[in-house]
Subunit: 328 residues, 2 copies
């Protein structure tokens, strides 16, 4: 299987992308990695790299603050766009990028292309949960507004992803809502509830946002606006609390000593809450596999994204989604 | 000014409601408090109570799990409904209840009545912020769906409330959104942005959910669904972190000692994040003042709600909102 990596996307590109690619190529002999980017910068670093790693030259780069759609339309030779084209043309089976999220979504739509029958592809990162297993949340920002039908497609795609990539037999799918009773919610969730009930998934009903961290579902369905509010509220609340803890821990010599005792446990916990630990986020509903790796990815994160892509390819993720969607 | 208190609503009713009412009556001689509830239960407790405290008998009670609209329609002699009627008929200037939130909103709409020109009354609790000042968030659940016009009315009502009750001269009004740029958001927030820009308020633009705790606005505008997701995500995240901290703090003798050093600071902080500290939530947009006190209110919380009602009445809150709305 051939996996294209956008060598130029991400905060520490291309160095860590190259490093992650080399490590992945060494680990998995059944994978061929295509590093997409400026050949002059990439080639010297690949001296002695394994033979299942090659370079595809791309002369341009999508920048973090580029306007997504315009960047994808104009920078036709950008590393991200070229990687997308490799997938589109069948020269790669999957692509990974740690670059501009909006531009990657645009690459997915405009270059790779939407899967037939899917109205809106969805971005589906893992949200950390206390049991360490995480929940796949979608849509987290590919589309701000959604129809009940879109939510149903998110549910099906997320459920298949959890089966194929994470090996869950019967993923529990929850609908993010303001109460657990069936008739709770706004017009969108009330109309989506019966659709999810009839979908070929294990629908566990409405899930309240305060319970998400407890890990009461494996797939969490919501529109992109609400999903963004959920994720950023979690980040903001946790970040605020940890910064206050830090202040308290360093306010006196005694508190510093006390903090030293408690630190290992808290670090483990903080790590558990770090969504970067959960790997890349798939863009589901495209005619090929596209994975978003976090902008601040290190080499391990890039390698982990390759692991994810490999699992998805081995288990025919895209075909499985496509055949389930076309059956509806 | 006459303030009716639903003596039978709340987890510890009527005892703490009575106690809070007595304390408030003692503190403010310019207030007359009308305790509404079962006379047989209330009268004995009022021996020796100040003369600016009286009882209005009501034979029924709205229960926590009553279906709101039905309860208000059928239990015409429920303490909450009778208190609402006192406001409607001009026998009281304001009412306070710690009972069933849904039923109180129904009492507001069906008994007290909507203010002319207001399409949707809104529930507006304070969300705690790190600077201790809090932000008034609305709507937090009175209406799940909202139109751009509704959001504009929420913004105006919230702004006037902060001026009249909290004495802020120029409250900063923010629109809860997924990014700070003007064109960010879903269809609702994109359509609301220009309306808020032209409204007679100090609109500071879009506010991201991760920044709410930093206190970057005094009034936070959102639809009831998103507001509920925001508040419950904050509660859930903070609750989870504090429960893990507790586990860490008690995992060994050494950690217990360490925790003892850090505890006072953390308790102060936890208290800061406790929205119960911020008093009752007004239902804005009614033909009279209705305040929701938290279900787990203690006597101090009831007394604080009386303080809030008194400030609002002294500063003509309802008339101010009405004249601003009718000007549009």
């Amino acid at each position: 299987m051939r996996i294209a990596i956008d060598a130029m996307g991400g905060d520490a590109a291309p160095d860590i992308n190259i490093q992650g690619a080399i490590e992945a190529a060494k680990e998995w002999g059944d994978v061929h990695i295509i590093l997409v980017g400026d050949e002059k910068r990439l080639a010297p670093a690949l001296n002695g790299a394994p033979s299942n790693l090659s370079i595809q030259h791309a002369s341009e780069v999508v920048l973090p603050d580029d306007e997504p759609v315009r960047a994808v339309r104009r920078k036709k030779d950008a590393s991200m766009v070229v990687a997308g084209r490799l997938v589109k043309e069948g020269a790669a089976d999957a692509m990974i990028s740690a670059g501009n999220t909006g531009a990657l979504m645009a690459t997915g739509l405009l270059v790779v292309g939407r899967m037939e029958g899917i109205e809106r592809p969805a971005l589906a990162p893992m949200i950390p949960t206390m049991d360490g297993k995480g929940t796949l949340a979608l849509d987290l920002g590919a589309n701000m507004d959604a129809s009940p039908q879109h939510l149903m497609q998110y549910a099906i795609m997320g459920s298949i992803y959890r089966q194929k990539v994470h090996g869950l037999e019967r993923p529990r799918v929850g609908l993010l809502n303001v109460g657990t009773e069936e008739m709770k919610g706004n017009e969108l969730t009330k109309a989506a509830f019966p659709l999810l009930s009839e979908a070929p998934i294990h629908f566990v009903g409405n899930v309240e946002s305060r319970d998400v961290l407890q890990g009461n579902c494996d797939v969490l369905v919501c529109d992109g606006f609400v999903g963004n509010i959920l994720l950023k509220t979690m980040e903001g609340t946790a970040g605020t609390i940890f910064s206050v803890l830090k202040q308290e821990f360093t306010s006196s010599l005694l508190s510093k000593l006390a903090a030293a005792v408690l630190k290992p446990g808290l670090s483990r916990f903080k790590k558990k809450l770090d969504y970067k630990e959960h790997g890349g986020a798939p863009l589901l509903g495209l005619n090929g596999l596209v994975l978003k790796s976090h902008g601040s990815s290190d080499a391990k994160a890039i390698k982990n994204a390759v692991r994810q892509a490999r699992e998805a390819l081995k288990n025919d993720l895209v075909v499985s989604i496509s055949s389930e969607i076309s059956r509806k």
